[in-house]
């Protein structure tokens, strides 16, 4: 039998433990909390924003990056308050949302980013140039070695090894994949007919990794590999990334200027903000750039949540834009910011 003293010790321990956890159940201020899930592409800036916004004192917004596909699904099922995706919803997805909830979901662009070709080729420390033909060839499985003429032609004077190219891609539903495949579909008719563009495709070749993080990690560990990640992930992890030939024929490296240039080619902003800026014809534009959207219900059942969401969005497209460039994202064009203000006002 247990000694009485043991019993008391266990009882007190149990009790104090329960009290301890419950004390966390009721944390001080009655803040509004929101939950969002989705793209890993903008995760660094979103996490920064939500962190800052909490101490600005207005709302606790928890964001879980699990891929654009996850964000779209979660917001459609209503298990999160908002989603995030680098692929705008298709007509069918929009219809599905409307039939499920009775009101529409808004897609609001927040930042501009770029998908860059990262690589790990032992012995090569300089920047490589990639033509659209090279990239589509690599991902179609036609260009298999690093010294293939498709790559070598664009990189005169660079001693490329004859080793095999290890292609990597996303294993989860990814807006970054959408951006990448959207670009490939535009520059390669074969890719367009064979594979197409979506958050998840039937890749002809390659290893899959989860999230932008996963791909970056895989590239780091695997010599001879190539992959695509959002710009900040390449910068953060010191992965070399190449220049891509744009529509005007220049080899452009992804940076704030070239991504902003890609957006400058947009003539008119549609009401639903669905724009593709890949393969932009603008001068100096980086060809694999994209907007990223927050998927926000137009109606919130809890008015406090609706207000908090609208408040955050207003902050994000104005003051929040001041912190995006430090993380290698480009600011939204002013015309877009102005238009979004009115859309945000309709959230309640």
């Amino acid at each position: 039998m247990i000694k009485t003293s043991d019993r008391y010790i266990t009882k007190t321990a149990l009790f104090s433990f329960v009290v301890f956890t419950f004390s966390f159940a009721q944390t001080a201020v009655a803040q509004v909390s929101l939950t969002g899930a989705g793209a890993t592409f903008p995760a660094p800036i979103y996490q920064k924003w939500f962190n800052v916004y909490q101490s600005v004192g207005k709302a606790q917004i928890n964001y879980q990056p699990n891929g654009s596909g996850g964000g779209i699904k979660a917001v459609t099922e209503g298990t999160v308050d908002f989603g995030a995706s680098d692929m705008p919803l298709t007509d069918e997805q929009l219809k599905q949302y409307k039939s499920k909830h009775g009101f529409e979901v808004l897609m609001l662009p927040t930042v501009l980013g770029a998908a860059v070709p990262v690589y790990n080729v032992p012995g090569i420390s300089q920047e490589l140039n990639f033509t659209p033909e090279a990239l589509s060839g690599i991902y179609l499985g036609k260009v298999t070695t690093w010294n293939d003429p498709a790559i070598a032609k664009a990189n005169p004077g660079v001693k490329l090894p004859g080793s095999k190219i290890v292609v990597t891609h996303r294993s989860d539903g990814s807006g970054t994949t959408f951006c990448w495949t959207d670009y490939l579909s535009k520059v390669s008719p074969e890719w367009s007919s064979k594979v197409g563009k979506n958050t998840s495709v039937d890749w002809p070749v390659g290893l899959g990794a989860k999230g932008n993080d996963g791909v970056a990690g895989l590239i780091k560990q695997q010599p001879g590999s190539i992959g695509y990640v959002e710009l900040i992930y390449a910068v953060k992890n010191k992965l070399p990334y190449g220049k891509v030939k744009n529509k005007s024929g220049d080899f452009v490296k992804a940076d704030l200027a070239s991504v902003t240039a890609a957006a400058s080619g947009v003539k008119s902003i549609p009401a639903d903000y669905r724009i593709s800026i890949t393969d932009s014809a603008a001068k100096g534009a980086y060809p694999i750039a994209t907007f990223t959207w927050l998927l926000v219900p137009s109606k919130f059942s809890d008015p406090a949540k609706g207000k908090a969401m609208a408040g955050f969005l207003k902050w994000a497209i104005t003051e929040g834009q001041n912190s995006v460039e430090a993380l290698s994202y480009s600011k939204l064009p002013p015309a877009m910011v102005a238009k979004e203000q009115s859309t945000i006002a309709s959230i309640h």
Binding site: G70, I72, V166, G173, D202, L218, Q221, Q222
Partner: protein
């Protein structure tokens, strides 16, 4: 005093109300425990029901050919379970191939050779290995095992066995081989702890009789003790197999997450549990979701079959020896 103001109590039934109340509580206790048991049965029923119903769209679209097709294309809505079934079976088999010899030999040492105190301490430690969470095995797999496999194991394997299709092709670290190795480490403790117990349960006189006839200790073990304990050992193998099949996290961190079937162990693959973990959160569209759930049902079915086999084995051997 003979007379009193209180009504006369029946001296043969003192505290009648009290006992009635206790009997009520007795009934209540019985009902509460029965209700718990029924509730648990209901939960299991709910699980099977949910799985079955949610798999219907896939079952109706593809039928059983779902299990034999190997194309997994969420975009084109073509789903085939074969790559995942293949990956699950290959990694589990590899795990057992490695873990069973190691485990049985180690249990022989612990049961037959080691002094009791040492045996108890070592078994205690090995059972702690079983308690290590799966995600930690995944951590070790990524940062320790894969580099070791890449630097030492694969070069030696390919140089000696490179002619076999089993070891051809490029090695990217994440592979069926890595997953199988991690799984083998994870299931070895189960095999050891159960096998050791059944080996210890073999009566001493069996051993003594053999030794008296002049066999060596190893011969006794191999020809007398192990056959006696065969059922238990095989039971432990089934237990290990069930664990290996359902393992999710460690596998998804080292298997490569590629839904392709390849003959080579060096190639990346995919397992049922891993694909569900990776793709369920974003699966939208009835067919996609129900395909993943159908995969879960298949996995569940596999474990049911293995459990049933293990039970049948126990029953038949018990009957035979009875």
């Amino acid at each position: 005093m003979a007379t009193s103001t209180y009504p006369a109590r029946n001296p043969q039934l003192p505290l009648a109300g009290f006992y009635r109340r206790i009997r009520v509580w007795d009934q209540v206790a019985y009902l509460v425990t029965l209700a718990s048991a029924i509730l648990i049965l209901a939960v299991v029923g709910l699980i099977v029901f949910e799985l079955w119903i949610s798999s219907q769209p896939t079952m109706q679209t593809f039928g059983w050919s779902f299990l034999t097709h190997s194309r997994w294309d969420p975009n084109g809505e073509k789903f085939g379970a074969l790559p995942f079934i293949y990956g699950t079976c290959v990694t589990a088999s590899l795990a057992l191939l490695i873990a069973v010899p190691f485990g049985v030999m180690a249990s022989v040492f612990l049961a037959e050779l080691a002094p009791p105190r040492l045996s108890n301490i070592l078994t205690f430690l090995i059972e702690l290995l079983a308690a290590v969470p799966s995600v930690i095995y995944g951590l070790i797999g990524i940062f320790v095992l894969i580099p070791m496999i890449r630097s030492y194991l694969v070069p030696s394997l390919t140089s000696v066995f490179g002619f076999l299709p089993l070891f051809q092709g490029d090695f990217y670290g994440v592979s069926l081989l890595s997953a199988g190795l991690v799984l083998s480490i994870m299931v070895v403790p189960f095999i050891i702890s159960v096998s050791r117990e059944v080996l210890l349960a073999v009566p001493v006189d069996q051993r003594e009789a053999a030794l008296a006839l002049g066999t060596t200790k190893w011969e006794t073990t191999w020809q007398i003790v192990i056959p006696n304990a065969k059922v238990g050992i095989i039971g432990s193998v089934f237990l290990a197999l069930a664990r290996a099949l359902g393992e999710t996290m460690a596998v998804t961190m080292v298997i490569g997450n590629t839904p392709k079937i390849s003959a080579s162990l060096l190639a990346p693959g995919y397992s049922i549990a891993a694909v569900i973990a990776n793709e369920f959160a974003e699966a939208s569209g009835d067919l996609y979701i129900s395909s993943l759930i159908f995969l879960g049902l298949v996995l569940f079915g596999l474990t049911i079959v293995i459990n049933a086999l293990a039970r049948i084995l126990v029953l038949t051997t018990a009957r035979r020896s009875a």
